[in-house]
Subunit: 194 residues, 2 copies
DNA sequence: TGTACATCAGTGAACGCGCGTTCACTGATGTAC
DNA sequence: TGTACATCAGTGAACGCGCGTTCACTGATGTAC
């Protein structure tokens, strides 16, 4: 039997889920604490017992996003662990693009303007872990000395593609999949020069 | 003597300038038609005679941004026209990053979510011109066949770096200038593989 | 085990705020004759 | 050139809206004895 502490079960959890759904369905300007409370089926003042502000709630959603993100990239790396470092980075790049595709709003939170959300300790920790994960993967190609600059480069490149895709700014009438593959390929080729 | 047609001189122009200033100083969520009217020193209903909505005004600001952007990159290309295609692309990349740095809010409009603004004809035209300009520069390195994919790649890479910089997401304690130079260098190296 | 009390999650009405929109208006500019 | 009228830019009050915040409250859960 599920434990339902307090009145509504873990409202905190429900609010986070409602928040993610709201982010997925609405422009971020329309996502308010009242809107999220409405979706969670509680009065608009109820969230105050769990989150002091929208920024707080968004920070927690972003932190959870990073956790899922790390798992997704970790799985990709794991599945290609018998291949070369370049193949592994390609696999992680594909996982990155897939994550951004499937979680556009959360991705925007994670890598967008910090101003929208509180930098909670768990968020700081998770985002740092994601960075370390990428840096390690790059280090296997470039060596540890060049890894920070290589990782920054890889990150910029894949992040830029994700953002342009999400904003539907890429030229139309080209296969997105082909664009992604080409981008990853050129990106790795550049890294080889380091 | 300056011609001052109608009552306040060209309020349309004033509103665009006030809008750019507001975007530079405030988070975009705080930029409203009323706020812009206030800054332009007119009543809050006055802008309706010139712009039907914020989205309209933002679209026009973005279009002007593209015009300045094209000039900035064109100047960079012009000044390096006696150098190699790669050097020219590097110069344009630097001009791109400088533009994004100096006009973060307008840059965000230009290359960010379309939903915030109206896709006016002048905006469509200007953004297409910017794309063509980049594609031509890349074509001088890769040849015309590979130019679209090469340009998409270059754009992703530089756009990603600009966004991460603006969001202050890059690892601290590294020289931003060095990061930029390294990124551009690796980017061009990747292009060479095409 | 039972009772009495403290704690705490969630309610719902009320508040002030800035927003976009509407509308009757004022007054300057443009135009017909 | 002058007059009369039409057009149009900008005003300011009023409206309804959703927001975050506050606050007295209800009622369930947890705890001391």
């Amino acid at each position: 039997m599920t434990v339902k502490p307090y009145h509504h079960g873990d409202l905190r959890e429900q609010l986070l889920i409602a928040g993610e759904l709201a982010l997925a369905e609405l422009p971020i300007a329309k996502v308010s604490l009242r809107e999220i409370a409405r979706r969670a089926g509680v009065s608009h003042a109820a969230p105050k017992h769990h989150f002091t502000s929208m920024a707080d709630l968004l920070g927690e959603i972003a932190a959870r996003g990073f956790d899922k993100f790390i798992v997704a990239l970790g799985n990709a790396a794991e599945q290609s662990k018998r291949q070369t470092g370049e193949d592994r980075l390609l696999a992680m790049g594909r996982a990155y693009l897939r994550f951004a595709d499937q979680n556009p709003a959360v991705y925007g939170l994670m890598f967008g303007q910090v101003s929208k959300m509180s930098m909670t300790p768990s968020l700081t920790k998770s985002s740092y872990e994601a960075w370390t994960q990428l840096e390690s993967a790059v280090a296997q190609i470039t060596g540890p000395t060049q890894a920070p600059i290589g990782a920054t480069y890889v990150w910029s490149s894949v992040h830029g593609l994700s953002m342009l895709k999400a904003a539907r700014r890429l030229p139309p009438h080209v296969s997105l999949h082909a664009v992604e593959e080409d981008n990853l390929r050129i990106m790795v080729a550049g890294l080889r020069e380091l």
